[in-house]
Symmetry: C2
Subunit: 625 residues, 2 copies
């Protein structure tokens, strides 16, 4: 089948051509891919977000600890272990979600299913914010990996980040196949690099295999004492390591059968890899006494310490940037899909609901790209500034999702050992993540979490307003089941028509003829500010023997639309329920000729749009060139 027709004017066509060049030709609904993922591919694609968190999680812990100087530095090990334990708890908890929701169990759906609309909106908005921040943080962190290796690019980091977002938007509008094998590559390249770097580091640190090249940054002097608050703040920062672990449970239906079992196994692998990389990086950073710097990421410092400025160092930086950009890319699949679910439930504008002509949820992709670009610009692509905003949403969604699961066990499963263990696992998950959420809010409030905490209620309020609007509209549009068409009241009253005319010419005659064809009750109306011209029209009218009333309105202020509107409203009141306004509209042969004419028809139509009971018909008169 040929491409769809391309109607419209020259400018419209130009836009379409440009768009086709950038985005590609439209795809048919039938072309939608339903490829299933092998475990190997699924691990790479669904874990990129989680595993890429290792690129910044350790650094975020250290950034807080060094505020209390060298003495606090050692706390990085227990904090790292606590986060690894948290990861295992969350992993087990999500394992149960996988088996309970083999059709895909995102927080919004699971919460709506179990706890109802209110909590679901909290989960949904948390996730929308979370996906936006995933893009902003991952892109900024990826750019930091690049500028660590190439410091000359640092002044352009915001520009590079925005360009990267733009590239992701265009790529996703084209309809990138998330399941393509190409997307598995960056994850494995990163894992492979780390799997070499960490053992090499351990060998150099404890077994004297070779001489490391420790960085020269000393731990800066303490600015504050070691307090519980500081430790908890550092822990909160490190919790960003867990962002993205929910991805596998969201994507169960994409696995090859048996879907749930394969997904659960993949989740296990992901937790193991993420945990080992995070702990490995944390322990080595501690051993080499790496301290956060403006110019270089901790991971870059670690790589340089172990392998110096070798090609392998560049490989580490390149694959770090690669997995981070891939992580950002997964949000471009998740955000629009969630927005589409929420639009289907009438909580977001209907424009988010449907796939565009490339099968992508275009409006969701554009909205996410815009929001992430704004964040990157406002926060100067600074990961450390963005992190305090990040974890709140993630852990709120975790908590709600797992609380939902706990409730689900209690309500849906028969009592017994199976139910008890299930409730215990998800209950522990919910309790732990709930506490962590509170810790994050308490410790990160002032450094940025307040932004999210203020925006989220506003967002929820907005969504409920949107929902209420759609509900109201649906109720008013709904057709009562009975009575059938024949019993419905017919069109209310007779139809009167008024034809505003600018003079007596062919365009006018055409509109008058049309009005007369439709109804016997036609009035012509003319607004004038020149009595002589009005007299001339009256004479033409008489000569034409039209046998229709012509009303001439004098406009003392030479205004056209105002007096016309006033007359139409008055006539409408006289004639009763429905008045047709038949407007002769003059259509020039070329668009550029448009400014040579007054757009009276357009102005009238716009003004009458809000008048119930007035139906506007424009009778075009086309002038050939």
């Amino acid at each position: 089948m040929a491409e769809p027709t391309e109607p419209g004017s020259g400018i419209g066509r130009l836009y379409r051509q440009l768009r086709r060049l950038l985005i590609g030709p439209p795809l048919r609904t039938a072309q939608e891919a339903h490829e299933r993922l092998t475990k190997t591919k699924a691990l790479a694609i669904l874990s990129s977000d989680a595993i890429s968190s290792t690129a910044y999680a350790t650094e975020e812990i250290l950034l807080i600890l060094v505020l209390a100087g060298a003495a606090a530095y050692g706390y990085v090990i227990p904090i790292g272990l606590a986060i690894a334990a948290l990861l295992v708890i969350v992993g087990f908890s999500y394992r149960q979600t996988i088996f309970a929701y083999p059709q895909g169990g995102g927080s919004y759906i699971v919460t709506k299913d179990n706890l109802g609309t209110g909590p679901a909106l909290v989960a949904g908005t948390s996730l929308l914010i979370d996906y936006t921040l995933t893009v902003a943080v991952s892109i900024s962190s990826g750019v930091a990996a690049i500028t660590s290796a190439a410091p000359g690019l640092k002044p352009y980091r915001v520009e590079i980040a925005v360009l990267a977002i733009l590239a992701l938007v265009i790529g996703n509008l084209r309809g990138i196949r998330e399941s393509g094998s190409l997307f598995a590559v960056p994850t494995y390249l990163f894992i492979a690099g780390m799997a070499i770097l960490i053992p090499l580091g351990i060998g150099a640190a404890w077994f004297g295999l070779f001489e490391p090249h420790p960085a020269s940054h000393p731990v800066p002097p303490a600015q504050q004492g070691i307090t519980l608050f500081l430790i908890l703040r550092a822990f909160s920062s490190g919790c960003t390591a867990l962002t993205g672990v929910e991805a596998i449970s969201d994507g169960v239906p994409a696995f090859q059968p048996p879907e749930a079992k394969n997904a659960a196994r993949t989740l296990g692998w992901m937790v193991a890899i993420l945990g080992s990389l995070f702990l490995g990086i944390t322990v080595l950073s501690y051993h080499f006494h790496l301290t956060p710097s403006e110019d270089q990421t901790i991971l870059s410092q670690l790589a340089r310490t172990v392998v110096d400025d070798s090609p392998f160092y560049l490989y580490i930086q390149a694959t770090t940037a690669g997995i981070l950009f891939l992580a950002a890319n997964t949000s471009f699949a998740d955000f629009p899909r969630l927005a589409s679910f929420m639009a289907r439930d009438r909580y977001l504008p209907t424009q988010f609901r449907y796939r565009g002509d490339r099968l992508a949820f275009s409006n969701g992709i554009i909205a996410l790209g815009l929001a992430a670009a704004v964040l990157v610009v406002v926060f100067h692509a600074n990961v450390n500034a963005l992190i305090p905003l990040y974890a709140v949403g993630v852990f709120t969604a975790f908590t709600l999702s797992q609380a939902s699961m706990t409730y689900r066990w209690w309500r849906r499963e028969p009592p017994g050992r199976h139910r008890t263990i299930g409730m215990l696992i998800n209950g522990t998950g919910a309790a732990v993540t709930g506490i962590v959420t509170l810790i994050i809010i308490a410790t990160k409030f002032l450094s940025g979490a307040w932004i999210v905490i203020c925006i989220q209620p506003l967002l929820i309020w907005l969504l409920t307003r949107i929902h209420r609007h759609y509900e109201r509209v649906a109720a008013q549009l709904a057709v009562p089941a009975e009575p059938a068409a024949s019993e419905r009241p017919s069109w209310p009253g007779p139809l009167a028509a008024v034809v505003p005319i600018a003079g007596y010419n062919r365009a006018t005659i055409r509109a008058l003829d049309f009005a007369r064809e439709i109804t016997g009750d036609v009035t012509a109306v003319h607004v004038t500010s020149d009595p002589a011209e009005a007299e001339q029209l009256r004479q033409q009218w008489r000569d034409a023997k039209l046998d229709l009333p012509l009303v001439i309105i004098e406009s003392p202020y030479r205004e056209l639309v105002g007096p016309l509107l006033a007359y139409i409203e008055q006539l409408h009141a006289e004639k009763g329920d429905t008045l047709m306004v038949v407007v002769p509209e003059f259509v020039p042969a070329h668009l550029y000729e448009l400014p040579l004419h007054n757009q009276t028809a357009w102005r009238l139509r716009t003004a009458l749009w809000t008048h119930p009971g007035i139906i506007v018909t424009t009778v075009p008169y086309h002038v050939s060139s």
Copy 2:
């Protein structure tokens, strides 16, 4: 009578309120003033443009002469005398125009009347350019008068000039009464100041009445030799003294009766005053060896030389700025009036033709303000840079106007002494100004006149294109004198209607009912990308027993408007001449709810606008809040 109704939405109302605050309430057509001018007032108001030229004409001559050093300086006297002689010739020539065109003889009208459309367009565009440059030059020169006295303001001269133009635009949109006595004041204050300054200067220079304070600028060393070209260039520059002398002959009808006689006398006075001031300033500048400077105008230097930094010096500067701003203001009356004449003749867009609600030709005023502001910004409010563009248009208009008068004598008057003298005077005027035009083009081409010489043909081409468009439209709209209405063919063929529907709801039903009220031939059409949803609609349709055909179109690319358009075009071809498209349009209660809905009705209407034979009716369905 109350103010006209204020229809439209909240934003429209806000705009109107702001506008009313700035521009004032509308004025009735009957409020147009028809006050006649006494000679004293007329001299002040109609001569401000001409007399204000003395503020820069001498300086422009000197600016060229000093290029050849002190030796060339003396040529300022013969050049000044030549320009004064030219002024007398042009004055006599226009005197005849006054008697020939007591109804007002602007170049455009006189040329159109005698030489036809082509030359009239040259004259018209010359004048439009001339008026624009009058604003730019006068405002820039007025600002130079201010910064000569207050050098601290010099860095802000462009800003001051643009603000002054903005003030003139707003003032004229409010409908300044050009005939108000207030406007006579600046001219007489300037003339009075000069009538004191020049005799004082002569007294100091030749009669030793008191010691002058000569400026310290020496004539700079010669950069080139004294050539005929240089002398002619200096003369061309000085010809700007004549700009504005045509104003009285344009405004004859504003005089008290006997109009022509009073206007002729006023013209005589103006020539005398302009000539004396110009010669006085020129002779004194020569005597005191004043040389052009970046920081001070020649007139400012002259005033300082004679009266030092006294209050009288400040008076001279203030009244110079005053008469220059008044001169700019006269263009805001002349340009829109000429644009209105030309729009009436269909050479300019119809929007220039009519008076706005304050009785001012609003669009002409805004267009002039914009054009002048662009010139001021591009040329940095620099008079010397603007002058080369200025004189070409003025002298082209002079030449055409006087050539027209010569032709008029020859064609319209009976042979005899009266005709011979008339032809001789206007012929001399035409010949002399024609030669001066050529001199100006030749000597000023490279320094800026080329801009005008390139733009003017483009402008004329554009105007003829506009004219051709309007003529074509008028021809196609014209109603043949015969036959009368009863004999005209009735509406061509039966009327079919198609109703695009998004689903089965009350808005749809309303549109379908409306279509059925009008014609028996109604088709409903629905575009779907989801077979299940289509099947549901088909079921509802059967249940509703509407007895109307429902066409369901599958859209493989999920596009809505494209397939709909294709179907409508196909149906239109089948049904014959006229197809009504009845679009159910959903109107939310609040404007801010609009983004929550797809604007399909709007997109469809826009796309169908260019299809002859398709009439679009939108049936609004209003949802209450």
